[in-house]
């Protein structure tokens, strides 16, 4: 029995094979269950993202991501998608360092595993930091909440009849589809007035209206749920990094399987971000 296991699975020299003689799908219990957990988690995220799609399709207008997400730390504005691209690269890089940690584990290189896991943890923490900055900008400076969405899109062309004291001056014209953000001064919303230039309501003076309410709620819940996964991942990475360092997994002689399992989870977080990035920022 013992020799059977050795010849079949070079990495699991001492681990019993689920007590049934042979391992289902040639995978350990923990690894297989991690896959099924990730499958169920994929359905949870899909549910959220499909809800986003359905609500977006049901609205006559939707905030333009290049306009909403265009700030960059250091007081930069009008840099569409630059910051989220940086976030994407941080997460991709941490995925790569995770692969390297798993590879070092397969050849039982303890310090190699620890080194690459530390890089992964730094990447995860950096991503969380970026997300914190992004949320802080949206909530603290732009006053977007789960109930109020100041980002809107003009449905018709028009001309502003008042300025905001910054970029928009009295008499500034805009086309249909132009984005705007309603500002808040001293706790009060200040939607600007404009004269409609075309269509059946031409000549009427209207006020900027708030964007679809669902936008804020969907954004904070979905990126928040993803961020929560990243946070959980960083915590588990830390625990497993410490355990690797103390030699707990070297003693198991199974090719650092625990590192492989948390690696699966970490790549899944990256995988989800691919679709969050697609739906919230690119489309």
């Amino acid at each position: 029995m013992e020799s059977d296991t050795i010849t079949k699975h070079p990495h699991t020299k001492t681990a019993p094979s689920w007590n049934g003689g042979s391992e289902p799908f040639k995978a350990s219990y923990g690894k297989l269950m991690m896959w099924y957990f990730l499958l169920s988690d994929a359905f949870t995220f899909s549910g959220f993202l499909i809800a986003y799609g359905a609500l977006r399709f049901s609205m006559p207008s939707w905030p333009v991501p290049d306009f909403v997400f265009s700030t960059f730390p250091g007081g930069f504005h009008h840099k569409p998608l630059l910051f989220v691209t940086l976030m994407t690269f941080i997460l991709l890089a941490s995925s790569f360092t995770m692969v390297r940690a798993v590879q070092e584990g397969h050849r039982e290189n303890r310090m190699g595993v620890v080194k690459w896991m530390i890089w992964t943890i730094i990447g995860g923490a950096a991503f969380l930091g970026c997300q914190a900055w992004e949320w802080n900008t949206l909530m603290g400076k732009e006053h977007m909440t789960i109930r109020v969405n100041p980002f809107g899109k003009h449905m018709v062309a028009g001309t502003y009849v008042e300025g905001d004291g910054h970029e928009i001056k009295e008499g500034t014209s805009f086309k249909a589809g132009a984005s705007y953000m309603i500002h808040k001064h001293d706790g009060e919303w200040k939607p600007l007035k404009f004269k409609v230039d075309e269509g059946p309501e031409a000549g009427k003076v209207k006020e900027q209206s708030f964007g679809p309410k669902a936008f804020g709620a969907l954004f904070f819940f979905i990126t928040g749920f993803h961020g929560f996964h990243v946070l959980t991942g960083v915590i588990f990475l830390l625990i497993i990094c410490v355990n690797s360092f103390t030699g707990l997994y070297s003693a198991r002689k199974n090719g650092y399987e625990m590192v492989e399992k948390i690696g699966l989870y970490w790549h899944f977080v990256d995988l989800v971000w691919v679709f969050v990035f697609l739906l919230f920022y690119l489309l």
């Binding site: 359905a54 790569f96 692969v99 397969h106």
Partner: protein, 135 residues
């Protein structure tokens, strides 16, 4: 795992991350180009850019699952039990996006009720009182 030497798996990881990074940069530039940020007055239809983005994101997902998560090197049974259930999502996406479009039409009708007079089943004479009288 176990099928590749350390050196060759290291090479594959480097290659995969390079492709992923390249696709991401391409996606962002393409999104900005399509919306007219890069060349003044130049736009690409949202449907074309959208389709491209979805396809490229699926390529990224494939690379992450098959190379980084080592799905390529698992036995077929494991691959099927994990990946086949996700096909259910195909219908979920079609159904819910169609539902969203229907909500859109309802909203338009509520905002602009003269477009089509909405009749309730009672007004249409489809529902009768229990006594059998037509309302």
């Amino acid at each position: 795992m176990g099928h590749l030497s350390y050196e060759s798996s290291k090479k594959i990881a480097t290659k995969t991350i390079s492709i992923l990074a390249f696709i991401t940069i391409f996606e962002v530039l393409f999104a900005l180009l399509g919306k007219g940020y890069l060349i003044e007055g130049f736009h690409i239809s949202g449907w074309i850019t959208g389709f491209m983005m979805v396809v490229l994101s699926l390529v990224k997902a494939y690379l992450i699952v098959y190379e980084f998560m080592h799905m390529k090197y698992e036995v077929p049974g494991l691959v099927k039990t994990v990946l086949l259930p996700t096909l259910l999502l195909v219908w979920a996406i079609i159904a819910f996006l169609a539902e969203g479009k229907t909500w859109f039409n309802y909203r338009e009708r509520v905002k602009n009720p003269t477009v089509e007079e909405v009749k309730t089943p009672v007004q249409q004479g489809l529902i009768y009182q229990s006594l059998g009288q037509k309302l």
